[in-house]
Symmetry: C2
Subunit: 192 residues, 2 copies
């Protein structure tokens, strides 16, 4: 098991409803050493890829993307969420359904910061149904930029997001892919 998988086993908590609670080290309290390892690992896996910018989505992708950006030495852009539909000419907008909060958010980035031709590495902490990635790849497409790759810390491999993204031909690197998770026993099985 890699370092993230070990951390999930030791500190992750499986809840009913396919929820994996990792808020002690990834998305509420943050283990900065763990995040630094994740950033190094993304850099290692995408070392052959030209990356101009890292794109993520608020809020739990931001820490991960920022620490990773230190290893890539590129700017980070984080998509913002809003309930309002204030479409002005200055933003690229898309929609994201939230698995956790059971609602739909509008997400946007300023057109000033996503340019045609830019090679964008998308980074996020979780991949489940793939809705956040659909929104982020849509923003990149609207800008005429290119998705150089997608880096995910934890993929719930038993949900359809990973399959949908790979079928579209994106280069997806997930550092821990969970193929089975049991809310009763608390057991977790990773994909090899």
């Amino acid at each position: 098991m890699n370092r993230l998988e070990q951390k999930i086993i030791s500190d992750g908590i499986v809840r009913e409803g396919n929820v994996l609670k990792v808020d002690s080290f990834l998305n509420h309290q943050i283990d900065i050493d763990m995040l630094n390892w994740i950033g190094e690992e993304f850099k290692r896996r995408f070392s052959d890829v030209k990356v101009d910018k890292i794109l993520t989505i608020e809020a739990s992708g931001i820490a991960l993307a920022s620490v990773a950006a230190l290893h890539f030495n590129v700017p980070v852009l984080f998509a913002k969420k809003t309930q309002s539909v204030n479409v002005d000419g200055e933003k690229f907008c898309s929609q994201v359904a939230s698995f956790t909060h059971k609602c739909i958010n509008n997400v946007f980035v300023s057109k000033n910061y996503l340019k045609a031709g830019e090679k964008v590495l998308i980074i996020d902490d979780f991949l489940a149904m793939g809705s956040a990635l659909e929104g982020l790849t849509d923003l990149v497409r609207q800008a005429g930029a290119e998705v150089a790759g997608i880096g995910i810390a934890i993929e719930k491999g038993f949900q359809e997001g990973g399959r949908k993204i790979r079928e579209k031909g994106y280069r997806l690197e997930s550092l821990a892919i969970i193929d089975e998770m049991d809310g009763t026993t608390g057991t977790i099985k990773f994909r090899q």
Copy 2:
């Protein structure tokens, strides 16, 4: 001028209504090298202080706090915002008025991650009226932890937040303090 002040002069945009737009490098698109300098500078200024944890608030404090945490080698905890008032026994909750969005948010952290006696360095990107810091210091107080210091990237010195915080005896280090800002001419004057 220090490096952040120079960046504000070159890339910041002053808008009417006392708004300073720094979204090209601090709180939408992020200049990771700039953030790393900020983190190093916070570490330098607080080098004599014992810090067990860095506390910030979503979303625009997260990148800054995470990069700073690499220099302090401590965990980061970010307070989450919610419109709902779901007070359960598991969270410390407080209220924060948003200057930008003209609304009141409930903010919370899990009781699991803020412990009595912990020495907490609060970090955020902006200080204006001081409402976010009131909320964050209140969470620390509820936990029985201690505010070891407060690190702010940009303080709007002509608004009351800085004065209120200093009057309460907190050790506040703001890397750029703006004493005057003109939305018509675009000029910015820093406190020496």
